[in-house]
C-alpha cells in the first residue's frame, strides 16, 4: 500500500509538472488552432533566464526569497517577451496561410531557439540553484513527497484556479473565448483580435516560464534541450484532455503523469512512454476529441 501511495504521489507531481506546460499549449491551440511546437522552447528559455538571474543574484549575495521572486519575475517577463515576439514573427504573417505552414514555421522556430541557446550559452548541463529549500515540517513524509513536489502541486492548482477565473469572468477572458470561437465575429464586436492573441501567447509563455523555474529547481539541472521532451509530453497531455480546454489540459496531465508513474512502478520504466502514448491512442479511440474536448460539430 505504501508503495502504491508513493507511486501515486510521484504521478501527481509529474502530472502537475506537465500541466504547467500543457496549459500554454492548450490556450494557444484554443485561440489560433496551432500546435505551437516552440512552446517547449519557451519553457526552456524561461528556465534558462531564471537560472541566469538566480545565479547572478546569488553571486551578488541577495537573500533566497528575493532570488526566488526576482528570478521568477524575470523568467516570466522574458519568456512572455519571447512568446510575443515569436507570434509576431513566425505565426502572425501565416494567419491566412494553408494550415500546415504555421506548423512547419513552429518546428523551424523550435530548432532555431534550441540552437540559439546552445550557441549563446553552452551545450553543457548546468546546475540549477536550489530555489525551493527542504521545509522542516515536510521531513516526516519527505520519503514520499518532497517540498518541491508540494510547491509545484500548489502552484499548478493556484494557476489553474486563477486562469479559470480569468477566462470565465474577466473581460479579457471573455474576449479570448469569443476570439477562439469565432474570430471574424470577435473583430466585428470590436475586439482587437491581434492584442488578444498576443495576450494569449504572453500568458501561456509566462506559465511555461514559471513551470520552467519550478521544474528546473526540482530536478536541479538545465540545458538547451530540456524543452523538447517536456514539450511533447505536455502536448500529449493537452490532447488527451481535449486540446483547447483548460481543465482538460490539467486532467490530461494528471492522467498522463499517473499512468507513467504506475507503468514504471508495476511494469517497467523501459516502456513508460509506450504506455503513455498507447493510453493516448486508446482514449482518442473512444473519445475522438479527448476527455473534456468539445466534439467538433460539423455543419452539413
Amino acid at each position: 500500500m505504501d508503495y502504491f501511495i508513493e507511486l501515486f504521489c510521484s504521478g501527481l507531481s509529474r502530472g502537475a509538472i506537465y500541466a504547467l506546460i500543457a496549459l500554454g499549449y492548450t490556450m494557444v491551440y484554443g485561440i489560433i488552432g496551432l500546435i505551437n511546437f516552440a512552446h517547449g522552447e519557451i519553457y526552456m528559455i524561461g528556465a534558462f533566464t531564471s537560472f541566469i538571474v538566480a545565479t547572478v543574484l546569488s553571486i551578488l549575495g541577495f537573500p533566497l526569497l528575493a532570488i526566488v521572486a526576482l528570478s521568477g519575475v524575470a523568467a516570466a517577463v522574458w519568456a512572455s517577451a519571447y512568446g510575443y515576439t515569436i507570434e509576431k514573427i513566425a505565426y502572425k504573417p501565416l494567419r491566412h496561410a494553408p494550415r500546415l505552414s504555421p506548423l512547419i514555421s513552429a518546428i523551424g522556430m523550435s530548432i532555431f531557439l534550441q540552437n540559439y541557446v546552445l550557441l549563446a550559452q553552452t551545450s553543457d548541463f548546468l546546475p540549477f540553484p536550489e530555489l525551493i529549500p527542504d521545509f522542516e515540517f515536510m521531513e516526516p513524509i519527505a520519503h514520499i513527497v518532497g517540498s518541491s513536489d508540494i510547491v509545484i502541486f500548489i502552484t499548478t492548482a493556484v494557476v489553474m484556479a486563477v486562469l479559470t477565473y480569468v477566462i470565465k469572468f474577466t473581460r479579457i477572458g471573455k474576449a479570448m473565448r469569443a476570439t477562439a470561437q469565432d474570430r471574424t465575429m470577435a473583430m466585428l464586436v470590436g475586439i482587437n483580435v491581434n492584442n488578444i492573441i498576443s495576450a494569449t501567447f504572453i500568458i501561456g509563455s509566462a506559465l511555461a516560464a514559471i513551470g520552467g523555474l519550478l521544474i528546473a529547481s526540482h530536478i536541479g539541472q538545465i540545458n538547451f534541450y530540456i524543452g523538447f521532451l517536456a514539450g511533447i509530453k505536455a502536448f500529449t497531455a493537452a490532447v488527451l484532455g481535449g486540446i483547447g480546454s483548460i481543465p482538460g489540459a490539467v486532467l490530461g496531465s494528471f492522467i498522463l503523469g499517473l499512468t507513467e508513474s504506475f507503468a514504471t512502478g508495476y511494469v517497467s520504466s523501459d516502456y513508460e512512454d509506450v504506455f503513455a502514448f498507447s493510453l493516448l491512442v486508446l482514449i482518442l479511440l473512444f473519445k475522438p476529441s479527448g476527455l473534456l474536448g468539445k466534439a467538433e460539430t460539423q455543419k452539413v
Binding site: P98, L100, G108, I111, N115, Y116, V117, V274, F277, V281
Partner: protein
C-alpha cells in the same frame, strides 16, 4: 525609400531585440566558480544585426508593393514558371531528357561525397513523395511517418542478419511490412480528424522507436545492427565507390518509378477520391466514396514507399539503430512536403533537394548550421507559405463557340 519613420521603427525593433536577447546573449554565469561574464559586444551585434535585417525586409516589402500593380484580371492564369515550362510537350521532353543526362553523368563529374549525399537527397525525395500521398493528397496529417521507414529498415537489417536474405529479396518484403503497419495504424485512427490524428501518429512513431530501443532480444536495442550487406550487383561484391555508384543509379530509377506512379495515382479514381476526401469528407461519403478504404489506401501506400526507402537506408548506411528514427526525422520529411508545396511533385523534389542538401552545404557554418536551418524554415514559410512550387489546380476552360 526609407522614411524617417521606418528608420525609427527599425531602431525601436532592434532595441526590443537587444532587450529580448539580453539575459541569454549578454550574461554568462558560472555557478560554481561564481563568475559573471558580461558580453556587451553581443548586445551591440544583436542591435545592429536586427536593424540591418529589418531594413532588408522593409526593402523587400517596398519592392513588392511598388511593382507594377499585379494584373488582377488574369491572375487566375498566373502559373509558376516551371509549370508553364512543363506544359509544353517539347520543352518538357527536352527538360526531362536534359535532367536525365545530368543525373546519369553526375557521379562521374563529382566526388564520391557529392554522390553519397545526392543518394540521401534522392531517398528523401521518394520519402517526401510517399508522405505527399498521405498529407498532400489525402490531407491526413501524419507526424509519425518515420515509423514506417523504421519498419522497412529493420526488416532488411533483421532478415539480412538472421537469414542472410539479400537486398532485392527484402525490398518488396520491407515495403509490404510497412504497408501492413500502415493499415494497422490506419484502422484505429480513421475516426480522428486533423490535429488529433497528428498527435496519434506522432505517438505511434514514438512507440515503434521505443519498442525497437527496448526490446533488445528482437532488435538488438540501442546498439543497433551493424554490417548490413550492401546490395550486390548480379551476385558480385562491389567496392565502396562501386556500391555508392550502384546505389545512386538504383535511387535514380526508384525516383523515376515513384514519380511515374504518383503521377498516375493523382489522376486515378483513387487519387481523386483522396483529393475529394481532403476537401470535404461528408460530401465525399454522400457521393458514395468508401471513406475507410480510401483512407487506408492512402496510409498503406504512403507507408509502402517509406518501407522501401527504409530498406535502402539500411543498405546504404550498413548500420542502423533506433536513434535514426526520431520525431525530428518525421518533422523534416513533413517540412519537405510543405516547403516544396503540398501536393506538387516538382515541389516535393525541390523541397527534398533543398532541405537535405542545405545542411550538408551549410557544413561550412558548422555549429551555426542548425540555427540557419531553423531560421530558413521559418523564413520560407513567412515569404512563401504555399510552398516553393504551389500545386496547380486542374482547370477546365469553357470554350465559347
Amino acid at each position: 525609400m526609407f522614411s524617417l519613420k521606418t528608420l525609427r521603427t527599425g531602431v525601436l525593433i532592434s532595441l526590443w531585440f537587444v532587450f529580448l536577447t539580453f539575459p541569454l546573449m549578454v550574461i554568462k554565469v558560472d555557478p560554481l566558480e561564481r563568475i559573471i561574464q558580461w558580453r556587451w559586444k553581443n548586445a551591440l551585434l544583436v542591435g545592429i544585426g536586427t536593424f540591418l535585417i529589418y531594413l532588408v525586409v522593409q526593402y523587400l516589402n517596398y519592392r513588392k508593393e511598388h511593382q507594377p500593380p499585379a494584373k488582377v484580371e488574369d491572375t487566375k492564369d498566373q502559373v509558376s514558371f516551371i509549370h508553364k515550362f512543363i506544359a509544353d510537350p517539347i520543352q518538357r521532353k527536352l527538360l526531362f531528357g536534359g535532367l536525365l543526362v545530368i543525373a546519369a553523368i553526375f557521379p562521374f563529374v563529382v566526388s564520391t561525397y557529392q554522390t553519397n549525399i545526392m543518394i540521401t537527397a534522392l531517398m528523401y525525395v521518394v520519402l517526401g513523395l510517399g508522405l505527399n500521398i498521405v498529407v498532400g493528397m489525402a490531407g491526413l496529417l501524419d507526424l509519425g511517418f518515420v515509423a514506417f521507414y523504421a519498419v522497412g529498415a529493420y526488416s532488411y537489417a533483421l532478415l539480412n542478419h538472421h537469414f542472410g536474405l539479400g537486398f532485392w529479396e527484402v525490398l518488396p518484403i520491407g515495403g509490404g511490412l510497412a504497408a501492413i503497419a500502415g493499415i494497422l495504424l490506419g484502422f484505429p485512427v480513421l475516426r480522428l480528424r486533423g490535429d488529433y490524428l497528428a498527435i496519434v501518429t506522432l505517438g505511434f512513431g514514438e512507440i515503434i522507436r521505443l519498442v525497437l530501443e527496448n526490446w533488445s532480444e528482437f532488435s538488438k536495442g540501442p546498439s543497433g545492427i551493424s554490417n548490413i550487406s550492401r546490395p550486390g550487383f548480379l551476385g558480385m561484391e562491389l567496392s565502396l565507390e562501386g556500391s555508392i555508384l550502384y546505389m545512386y543509379y538504383i535511387m535514380i530509377a526508384f525516383m523515376i518509378f515513384t514519380i511515374f506512379v504518383v503521377n498516375r495515382l493523382q489522376d486515378s479514381r483513387l487519387g481523386r477520391a483522396w483529393i475529394a476526401l481532403r476537401e470535404d469528407e461528408i460530401a465525399c461519403q454522400a457521393m458514395g466514396i468508401d471513406k475507410q478504404k480510401t483512407k487506408l489506401a492512402a496510409f498503406s501506400l504512403g507507408a509502402f514507399w517509406a518501407g522501401l526507402m527504409g530498406v535502402i537506408f539500411a543498405a546504404k548506411t550498413t548500420f542502423i539503430n533506433p536513434a535514426s528514427f526520431t520525431f525530428l526525422e518525421s518533422a523534416i520529411i513533413l517540412s519537405i512536403v510543405v516547403l516544396g508545396g503540398m501536393g506538387s511533385i516538382v515541389g516535393v523534389i525541390i523541397g527534398a533537394l533543398v532541405l537535405i542538401l542545405l545542411p550538408e552545404y551549410l557544413r561550412a557554418l558548422s555549429e551555426y548550421r542548425m540555427l540557419a536551418f531553423g531560421a530558413i524554415l521559418v523564413a520560407m514559410m513567412i515569404f512563401r507559405p504555399q510552398g516553393m512550387i504551389a500545386t496547380v489546380r486542374r482547370t477546365y476552360r469553357f470554350q465559347k463557340k
